[in-house]
Subunit: 301 residues, 2 copies
Amino acid sequence: MKHFIIVLAAFLVAGSAWCADAPKPQTMGEVLAASKPSDWHALDPQNTLYLQIASGRVVIELAPQFAPQTVANIKTMVREKYFDSLDILRVQDNYVAQWGDPNADDAAKRRSLGKAKAKVPAEFTVPLAGDFTFTPLPDHDGWASQAGFVGDFPAAVDLQAHQAWMTHCYGTIGVGRDNAPDSGNGSELYAVIASSARWLDRNITVAGRVVQGMEFLSSLPRGHGDLGFYTKDEHPVPIQSVRLASDVPEKDRLHLEILRTDTPTFAALVESRRNRHDEWYKRPAGYIDVCSVPLPVREKK
Amino acid sequence: MKHFIIVLAAFLVAGSAWCADAPKPQTMGEVLAASKPSDWHALDPQNTLYLQIASGRVVIELAPQFAPQTVANIKTMVREKYFDSLDILRVQDNYVAQWGDPNADDAAKRRSLGKAKAKVPAEFTVPLAGDFTFTPLPDHDGWASQAGFVGDFPAAVDLQAHQAWMTHCYGTIGVGRDNAPDSGNGSELYAVIASSARWLDRNITVAGRVVQGMEFLSSLPRGHGDLGFYTKDEHPVPIQSVRLASDVPEKDRLHLEILRTDTPTFAALVESRRNRHDEWYKRPAGYIDVCSVPLPVREKK
């Protein structure tokens, strides 16, 4: 394993944009227009899920670097078509959309997990060492000692406890559990439909992030039972299928690229959002939090 | 005018809950169950709007203390039924839902503003003095020198510049404008459907906040034009009516109460969310940001 790396250089470059004779501040559009092909990388089809509901396809990037055992279990379930024809059971306004087996609590009726494990250890944090690079944001984070990005994921670290974890931002995919920390096995998943739910950080295993199609989840009718569960009189939203992109014929795959977060281009993007300089803005904020940084996705050129 | 007051006492009480022999930490449910009638106050029908769309009624509390001229102009328009049969024109995912006159840019077709003013000064901030009380949160805020609450509204202050403003949290009602600061008159309004959009703070006039019915806006189909405007092939969402609650017959009014923010009960609520102690949470956050604090509303008993 490579050593854990904190990338600071990129932010020093961005910071220098405020010196005399520095180039004009850029908008996000300008930063992206000036990006190089090497600033982007293709989504790995081995770690990409397509969640299909009637209104559209939700593309999820799995995060094995944060939750190796849980992600492996989810992939086993997906290959067994475990999720097909299950339901989105819960849509709680300004919080989460959650899916799984409506009969999960009924041993006689619930769907078999097949070869997937019923119990997976809690993977709430990972050691702050390993084969990933943490790119910190320049600003203070209230919820952790430092927030930033690891690969394609918003993340935070505790530099004293040497731990890292994915942060609960818009589109974060988490692993529903009961009160016991190891009671989530990936058979019940949620997507955060709020732009931030950071109080969940380090309390639950996070398995990935929606990179495209969030609107199909965020615009679902809200449930009116406790915690936003659909009541008997409401209609859960059927899941047509969940597939691993690598199991889908090439012609049916989406070819998406994500902007790398460990690049000067990404640092410039962060700066373009910390301080907005298009004509409309009168007062740049001089700050950004990890959940407010857009993570650009595009069709492969 | 009374002097500007910062309420600190309530938080000192909440803070003491961590001493030896202190009472057991409470959940939000327990805090609300123990609240007294005097912890709540009724919404003022003179500053409450009902925005009716097909899916339901959205209740908006206006904030004349933050935007007196804009709120007065909006009330003039509402009394003239200016908004009736106009449209929700724009729903941008994880950002805003915005409504107004689809013909606003066409002088020949646009609806008359009647007695309302076409131009209203920018009211992006107010002086940090006046007849309101600022209740600060105990935690650091990244976007301002201090965040907290003024009356029923999330707010922030700049203690050096002696300014206060409403923060862009879930449900904040802002006043659409063009590039000129005084180009918003209240005829085009937006609701924040993201849980936070703080970079807009101090860049636009904020007129109030949705206190009930946000789900009717947040679950609307997203628009696919620039900035989430509905395209020609999509269907804008008609506004059936906007009424001031005081103009609605008593029998058709909602009787809602809001939890006061300048009380020990509210301080206890904040603490119950900063550090969650129900069985499910394994690691209390020890932090909260202004947009993550729930502002409870109930039917009047």
